[in-house]
C-alpha cells in the first residue's frame, strides 16, 4: 500500500494497481473453481460440503477483505478500518496524542533484520501501535510522507 494525499487535509493508503489486478484475477479463478464444485454438489457427502463451505469462506475474505486507512487533519484522526463487506475491526488514533512515528526492524526477521515496521508511539500509552511493515526503503519513504503530512516526528533509529 502507498500513501496517497487526496487534499491538503485528507489522505489515504491506497492499493497498487498490480495488487488490485492480481486480487481480481485470482478471485475470479477461485470463484470459477467453486462454481464447478457447487454445480455437482448433490453427489458430495456432508463432510465434503462443509469443506467446500470453508473454502468459500476463504474466497469471501480473499475477495472482499480490505484495509482502509484515512488520515484526516480536520478531525485530527487516523482511522484504520478492516472490513470484509462487514466491519471486522477499527482503530481510531488521535493525531494529537501521537508522540512519534518510529521505524524499527522486526523481531521476527532474525539477525539480518530485512523486514521493518512502522510503529505509532503514543503519549498516552506504553505500548506502540503497529501500523505497517515492509522493506527498509519503502518504510522510510512511507514514514517520511506520513510524518510530513500529519506534522509528527519521524524516528529512524535502527539497531
Amino acid at each position: 500500500m502507498f500513501f496517497k494525499p487526496l487534499s491538503s487535509t485528507m489522505a489515504v493508503m491506497a492499493e497498487t494497481r498490480l495488487h488490485v489486478i492480481a486480487r481480481v484475477f485470482f478471485s475470479c479463478l477461485f470463484a470459477c473453481m467453486l462454481l464447478i464444485v457447487i454445480a455437482g454438489i448433490a453427489q458430495h457427502t456432508y463432510s465434503e460440503v462443509f469443506m467446500y463451505s470453508t473454502l468459500a469462506l476463504l474466497w469471501w475474505h480473499f475477495t472482499f477483505a480490505k484495509r482502509q486507512v484515512t488520515f484526516d487533519l480536520q478531525s485530527q484522526q487516523i482511522t484504520i478500518k478492516i472490513s470484509s463487506l462487514y466491519l471486522l475491526t477499527q482503530q481510531v488514533i488521535p493525531i494529537r496524542n501521537i508522540a512519534a512515528l518510529q521505524l524499527r526492524s522486526r523481531a521476527s526477521s532474525g539477525n539480518g533484520g530485512r523486514a521493518y515496521e512502522l510503529l505509532i508511539v503514543m503519549h498516552t500509552q506504553t505500548e506502540p501501535l503497529k501500523f505497517e511493515f515492509g522493506g527498509l526503503y519503502q518504510m522510510q519513504s512511507l514514514g517520511k510522507q506520513i510524518a510530513d503530512f500529519c506534522n509528527i516526528p519521524f524516528l529512524n533509529q535502527l539497531d
Binding site: I41, V49, A56, L88, T89, P94, A100, Q125, L129
Partner: protein, 252 residues
C-alpha cells in the same frame, strides 16, 4: 562510581578488564551463542545416530559429528565485544577466543561514542541504553540512569537522553543525575521521574491550549485481537446454509 556499586549486574557486560576497559557484548556475540545452541540439536541427533547405526550410515554420522563438534565448540567459545578502553582513549570491537584477542576493528575515539538513555520501544515504561548503535534493555529508569552515568563518568563519554522530551534528544546533565542518584533509593526514584511526568504535564497543557483534551488513560486497543478471529467466521453459517440447500435441491 564503580561497576560493583550498580544496583544490578548485567549479562551483556563482561566485568573482566574493569575499571580500565569495559567489554560489552555485541549482536554478533549473541548470534554466535544462538548458533551454538541451535547447532547442538543436529549434533545430538548425529551422535545418537552414530551410536545406534552401523556400517556406512554410522560412518556418515561420524563424519557429521566430526564436522559439527568443532564448529559448535568454536561458536560457543567465541566472544565478540565492543571495548571501551580508557588507557588508549579508544573504542573498538574485538573477537576473543579462549582468552586470545584478535585484531581490533573499527577503532574510534571514545568521545565519538553514541550513548543515549531512551524508552524501550515495546514498553515505554521500561528503559534501555543505546550504545554505538545497539540498544541494550536495562529495566527501570533508575537502573538505566545508573548504568549510563557509570559509562559516561568512567569513560568520559557525553551521555544524552530521549526520555524527558520524547522524541527530541538532549544532553544528559550527569552532575545533576549523580546528585539525585546519590540520595536515598526512594527519593532518587521520585527525583528522576520528575522530568518524565513534566513532559506529560506539558503535553496535557498543550492539549488544553488547543481545546482538544484527550484523556491520558484512553487506551487504544491493538488492531488484531483474538475476538476478531471469530468475526471472520460470521459468513460461514450463511454459506453452509446455501451449500446444504443447494445439495438438498440438487438431490430432489
Amino acid at each position: 562510581m564503580q561497576y560493583s556499586q550498580l544496583s544490578k549486574q548485567y549479562k551483556f557486560i563482561n566485568p573482566i578488564g574493569l575499571p580500565g576497559q569495559l567489554r560489552i557484548a555485541t549482536k554478533r556475540h549473541y548470534f554466535c551463542k544462538v548458533s551454538c545452541f541451535l547447532g547442538l540439536i543436529p549434533l545430538c541427533a548425529s551422535v545418537l545416530m552414530a551410536l545406534t547405526l552401523d556400517g556406512n550410515q554410522q560412518f556418515f554420522y561420524q563424519a557429521v559429528v566430526a564436522l559439527l563438534l568443532p564448529t559448535v565448540i568454536l561458536l560457543g567459545l567465541c566472544q565478540h565485544y565492543l571495548v571501551l578502553d580508557c588507557a588508549t582513549n579508544q573504542r573498538f570491537v574485538q573477537l576473543q577466543l579462549l582468552g586470545y584477542c584478535c585484531k581490533k576493528n573499527n577503532c574510534e575515539s571514545l568521545q565519538s561514542t553514541e550513548l543515549i538513555l531512551l524508552h524501550n520501544v515495546n514498553d515505554r515504561s521500561q528503559y534501555c541504553m543505546r550504545l554505538n548503535g545497539t540498544s541494550y534493555m536495562i529495566g527501570t529508569l533508575v537502573d538505566a540512569s545508573e548504568l549510563v552515568l557509570f559509562i559516561s563518568q568512567n569513560f568520559n563519554i557525553t551521555a544524552r537522553e530521549q526520555v524527558t522530551d520524547f522524541p527530541t534528544i538532549h544532553t544528559l546533565d550527569t552532575h545533576a543525575l549523580a546528585t539525585s542518584l546519590a540520595e536515598s533509593g526512594s527519593q532518587s526514584i521520585s527525583t528522576i521521574d520528575i522530568p518524565d511526568s513534566n513532559s506529560l504535564h506539558e503535553h496535557k497543557a498543550n492539549a488544553k491550549q488547543k481545546n482538544t483534551i484527550d484523556s491520558p488513560s484512553m487506551f487504544i486497543q491493538p488492531l488484531w485481537q483474538v475476538r476478531i478471529g471469530f468475526r471472520l467466521l460470521y459468513p460461514l453459517p450463511f454459506i453452509l446454509l446455501f451449500c446444504f440447500s443447494m445439495k438438498f435441491i440438487g438431490g430432489l
